[in-house]
Symmetry: C2
Subunit: 133 residues, 2 copies
């Protein structure tokens, strides 16, 4: 476990997984991982060998990705930063007046402990914090 | 030089650099690099020790960042992928029908050779491609 925070992944909301995958396969030559179902979304990770891109397609008509697509259209949905101590980071968020989506950590993709910080308090970016392993 | 593409940085458009820096300094404990002026923007890099976050503030009332902020508000502006052969990647873009913002590479931040791909053809994301060193 490092003291240095790192960018874990970039979540991208897409209308159509096959269409979005084409650029990463044909231009960048990446091979996607198997799809995973989390929070009403189908997630496909693109392994860049560092932070990954996670393509997020809605698996339900009323889930968070479907609502994001309806409001904003396709594009970047969130950034995930890995931190050495998730509880301590959430405490610093509360002390700094940052608005939390998840007051306590919960289980996200790949079984990781995560919590989201609201974009209103972070320059327009939905931020996911995840515990380093 | 690796054959593997990697995420070089994430460009974030902000209204106010000091406000945006607070989260990265106070919650994540990062120390920003010195500001750099490129393309009518002031760029501050946050070194995550892998891909960086680049905070982008407009230095002119009519530059690309000012226009982005007026239209979309603050948030993620672009993703930069480093590729082993920029010319070959641009050729694959043309062959695949991807719309290029820059038909030929130009000089971007940190003196790197870059070219942008239009978001209309990449699931809503403005993509910067940069030549690996």
């Amino acid at each position: 476990m490092s003291d240095q925070p790192r960018i874990a992944h970039i979540g991208v909301a897409v209308e159509n997984l096959a269409d979005a995958l084409a650029f990463y396969r044909d231009v960048l030559g990446l091979v996607p991982l198997a799809p995973e179902a989390v929070d009403g979304a189908t997630i496909v990770s693109l392994p860049f060998g560092g932070p990954d891109i996670e393509l997020l397609a809605s698996a339900t008509p009323d889930g968070p990705i479907a609502r994001f697509l309806a409001k904003r259209g396709p594009g970047i949905h969130h950034l995930c930063y890995e931190v050495p101590d998730l509880e301590a980071a959430l405490r610093r968020c509360r002390e700094g007046g940052y608005r939390l989506v998840d007051e306590t950590p919960r289980t996200g993709a790949h079984g990781r402990r995560i919590a989201f910080v609201h974009p209103k308090s972070t320059a327009g970016i939905l931020i996911e914090l995840t515990q380093a392993r």
